[in-house]
Symmetry: C2
Subunit: 641 residues, 2 copies
């Protein structure tokens, strides 16, 4: 039976259901040395005075203040030296009238003395000490308990332990601190097709690497929990039950995640209903509708959606706050940023949308209409622009192409370009990319990006890259379409690359030119139509057709595999390498890298364009410098700067 989710709960009900599970993991005593980032479970009062004794605050001489009254440079008091007190030793001297004792910073003020004269205001003469200033009782002395006194409140419950709190607790001699225990979170990934990273993978058997286990485990740790990974389970009821029950016995919270298959969800659903209690199934959010909340034995349970971006989105929206509450850790200050929508975004689906968005900094010049306050961009750093990441949620790459989430409420309708939005980042360590480039995939470009701080590049292809640049979202478009785009741009630089036909090592079919591709029965792998390489190929075929007085269409029809196309620049060559094709469209540099043969057809120019409002961004200038510098072309056959 395939279960359909009906009666979707409102998102607030999901928050409440998770809160009702009460993850609080209790208290534990841990060594102070390991307490960084932890949260005090109870108040710590000082158990001792700091300092524990009257203490000299300078190097100098311990004196009876009365003996120095009236002393000055012209008329020093002369005192007999009764002894020496070092820091960390018990004084073996008593300072009598007319006497003094040499004393180090931090040393115990000896009996009889009630003040210290700093060494700079003293001189030794004939074994006696000249004191060239008068001091009052208590001068240059820190009295016992003056810093912290026994019985005083030192730190309250809920205090996050940063270096300074660790310092205060050190001063109090605390060895072990009572902290909120770390909630343990078990992660059970489901799906027969999942393989843990590092293990061998069979694509023929439909296996894929398990993305959610490590992603969510890392998110759990970031939220202050301890993640426990369990082996993944298939759709078998008994196996799933054993795993979930074991995780529930060992952890405060169990998360299941991984499979998108309805049958696995069905199995989990049954296990939770039979071994615990299901509080909620299905939430009115996009993505993440099929979310489960319940109880398994004495543990809390949340079922996350299977797609990676959906899983991380639902985790960070609903689960991470509960883990932080249990750990006593506040939401990180850097967890959200404010920005303005770079484009208008419509929405009308009647449920909360957790919209994955990317961030980009505007140039020092505004690219979005001015708002009503003068704060942003005042320092010339630009403001944060926010754009929806429109890939399907099944794409793993959305994980790194989006920076966070904007919540669009069901009644929003649309967000206007320029409208202020708050973005909840996928991690407080996420930063706005310093460069957002789009366009043609290119190995030299990839090397150039290594020289730019925090770049983002998305290989949309040449034409789509230019279209997006015109729409004002990215900083840079990289294109092979030739010539200047039909809107105002700044050319950052260009280079050329040799393209042609990639064939197996040794060129077993003896391919010599494009005519062989048209005239012979060869299995060909093309690029997708977004690719500038395909445009170059099509143009070359048009030339050949003209030469022959034929139509391009007829020529193309004769090529087995021309219409389909693979997305990335190495993919055709890899198909050739794997023996799945006889000829692939590609670059000389790729053929060299993969050790296959290459039949040259032409050379195309790759150009990088920015727009006037972005061209002065430091990262854009860094890319221009990397193009100009030409290091990226070293050992890259067929490239010229």
């Amino acid at each position: 039976m395939r279960k359909e989710f009906r009666d979707l709960a409102p998102p607030e009900a999901a928050h409440e259901a998770i809160a009702s599970l009460d993850l609080a993991a209790g208290t534990e005593e841990i060594p102070l040395r390991d307490a960084r980032g932890r949260v005090l479970a109870e108040r710590v009062d000082a158990a001792l005075d700091v300092p524990g004794f009257d203490r000299a605050t300078v190097d100098g001489y311990a004196v009876r203040a009365r003996d120095t009254f009236g002393a000055d440079e012209a008329d020093p008091a002369v005192l007999d030296l009764a002894g020496v007190v070092h820091a960390g030793t018990e004084p073996d001297v008593v300072v009598g009238e007319g006497e003094c004792a040499e004393i180090s910073t931090g040393a115990v003020l000896p009996e009889g003395a009630n003040a210290v004269v700093m060494v700079e205001r003293t001189s030794e003469r004939d074994g006696a000490i000249e004191i060239r200033t008068g001091v009052a009782p208590g001068d240059r002395v820190m009295f016992a308990g003056a810093d912290v006194a026994a019985g005083e409140r030192a730190l309250g419950p809920g205090t996050r332990l940063t270096p300074r709190e660790i310092g205060l607790l050190s001063a109090l001699g605390v060895e072990e601190v009572p902290v909120r225990a770390t909630p343990t979170v078990g992660i059970v990934s489901t799906g027969d097709e999942l393989v843990r990273p590092g293990e061998p993978l069979s694509s023929a058997a439909g296996e894929i690497y398990d993305v959610n286990s490590y992603t969510i485990a890392t998110g759990v740790e970031e939220a202050g929990g301890e993640a426990v990974l369990y082996p993944h389970a298939g759709d078998d009821y008994d196996q799933m039950e054993r795993l979930l029950v074991r995780a529930a016995e060992e952890c405060d919270l169990v998360l299941s995640s991984g499979s998108t298959s309805a049958s696995a969800v069905d199995v989990i659903y049954r296990v939770v209903e039979e071994q615990g209690e299901l509080l909620l199934h299905g939430v009115a959010v996009k993505p993440g509708k099929p979310m489960l909340v319940g109880r398994l034995e004495r543990s809390a349970y949340v079922g996350l959606p299977g797609y990676p971006v959906s899983a991380l989105t639902i985790f960070s929206t609903f689960v991470a706050p509960a883990i932080r509450r249990a750990a006593g850790v506040p939401e990180p200050a850097a967890a959200t940023v404010e920005g303005r929508m770079a484009t208008r975004e419509r929405y009308a689906e009647g449920r909360l949308r957790l919209m994955p968005v990317g961030l980009v900094e505007s140039g020092p010049t505004r690219s979005v209409r001015d708002g009503d306050d003068g704060d942003d961009g005042a320092d010339g750093a630009g403001e944060t622009l926010v754009y929806p990441v429109d890939k399907g949620s099944g794409a793993t790459t959305s994980l790194v192409e989006a920076d966070g989430i904007v919540e669009m409420h069901p009644d929003t309708g649309y967000l206007d370009a320029g409208e202020r939005v708050e973005v909840r980042l996928f991690s407080p360590d996420v930063r706005t990319p310093a460069l957002f480039a789009v366009g043609e995939d290119d190995p030299a470009l990839s090397r150039m990006l290594d020289r730019v701080d925090r770049p983002r590049f998305i290989a949309f292809g040449s034409r789509e890259g230019l279209r997006r640049l015109r729409n004002g979202v990215p900083d840079v478009a990289v294109t092979t379409t030739g010539g200047a785009p039909g809107f105002e741009t700044v050319e950052l630089g260009s280079w050329t690359r040799e393209w042609g036909l990639v064939v197996p090592a040794g060129n077993p079919d003896g391919v010599t030119d494009l005519a062989d591709l048209v005239d012979r029965d060869l299995r060909f792998v093309n690029r997708t139509s977004a690719s500038g390489l395909r445009t170059s190929l099509t143009a070359a075929l048009a030339d050949l057709a003209e030469e022959r007085g034929a139509s391009r269409h007829d020529l193309v029809d004769g090529i087995d595999g021309f219409e389909a196309g693979v997305r990335a620049h190495e993919s055709p060559a890899r198909k050739v390498l794997a023996g799945d094709a006889d000829v692939g469209l590609g670059l000389r540099a790729t053929a060299a890298r993969l050790d296959v043969d290459f039949v040259p057809v032409g050379t195309e120019t790759v150009r990088a364009f920015s727009t006037p409002d972005r061209a002065e961004k430091p990262a854009v200038r860094a890319l221009a410098a990397a193009i100009d510098d030409g290091d990226a072309f070293d050992d890259l056959p067929g490239y010229e700067g």
Copy 2:
């Protein structure tokens, strides 16, 4: 010989000297699972396609698209079921013309099929499948490499690994990632008087707990380094040399810290000069003048000042950025906050001042003059006010009474009240306290503060507390001085506490009232004059003097220990408990807590006041609620709400 520091280097020279030491720790390969927060050392390109096969994106039926052309609800296509393909298995079916195969989300598209119809648009009838919609080739299929293609740039060097990057690397099956190695930082604390927290302490021998080692170690870890603690060293040259050389051999950077004694600094200075190279001694900053930068064997070396706040300040200003650079970790986004000066602060010492400051939130109503933009406080949350923490840098409590550092440049002269400043927090986890209360130390108050989120309380005493409240910095003053203050306040609530004379258990001297204190030869411990308790005592003595027709002065003169005074409310009772005094000024509650006897003298009222602009802050209201609620008085003898 005591060395004086001359020719102070400018702070920029200190930054440069540390940068010239080049801490970079190299590269290491670590398991992906442990890579959270680490920084990629090199680019990671995809080594495989994701997915590795053409994959169904829904549960449904794999079909040849052509077989569904023209199908709709009214006129479904009817296909024979050729088999089933589960996720994670190799298809054992080929879809021929007029056939379909049941397929799960994520399963391999079987040979022959080129599209998937979602299950919701199908029905089973008599063993055959009705397809109620037409699909195009590629519908509901994610092609191999569509997400990530082998050879594509996945993540660049310098990328911080947060959950989403861990997710992408999981998808690529990466087992070990090349990351920037963690710089190891050895910490050698110096000073014979230091004892590590948790070990027994002899105050008589002038021992104190080592504050800097754990504080700085925690700071090192926060900056992305690994801290290694070494035993602390005294002033002995050979011992110091052995320790420093060992640390230099084992670590990328050695920090010395701890002792404030000039002789220990001299010894270190000599070791560095003889075993390495001293690049810089003495920097024109306050605090932290006696800073050393150099090289010890092949390790970098920085000598930090001894006082905890100075050590943390110099560490966070000069050393932490170098550790972050070496680890490849950016400065945390939450490491600085903007605020306005709450008071005017003068400075004219000709060197950079790293001024420790506290933070407090203004109320929704502005308490500082309006600035030139309308951004702050627009949401009613108030703005961040910044005030100097004026304790001596020797005080450990400054660590938690200050939140960060404002840099005042040598030519600043003054910072005006209301002026915008940037505060570098002592840790990105430091938050602005939600409540800043000052005034009279009180055990019931301490319990009430436990019920307020992020409170700060400083026991300045009653009168000083009121004075500071009037000056507009704290939110609340707690006072026993009686009646309303002479400025506009909001009373949050009040309670009473019984005070009197604390005597040893069993009251061996048979003290019965205040007259005994005046008339008999008893060693007395008073509170400091800032304390409201002392004010109550003085008033009671005045009453007694009047009764007797004597002057208060005469009565006071007869009390051994009246003039001196200890700072904290439990301190006199603790002196009595320790046998150092016969009578102490204190509370009934304190006597009960410490199991000593109590002779009642009077009852005083403790009042909490806020100001109109702060009274509505949530934390101020929480304190008022805690006073009103009265739980804090449970089991606290002598208290009444």
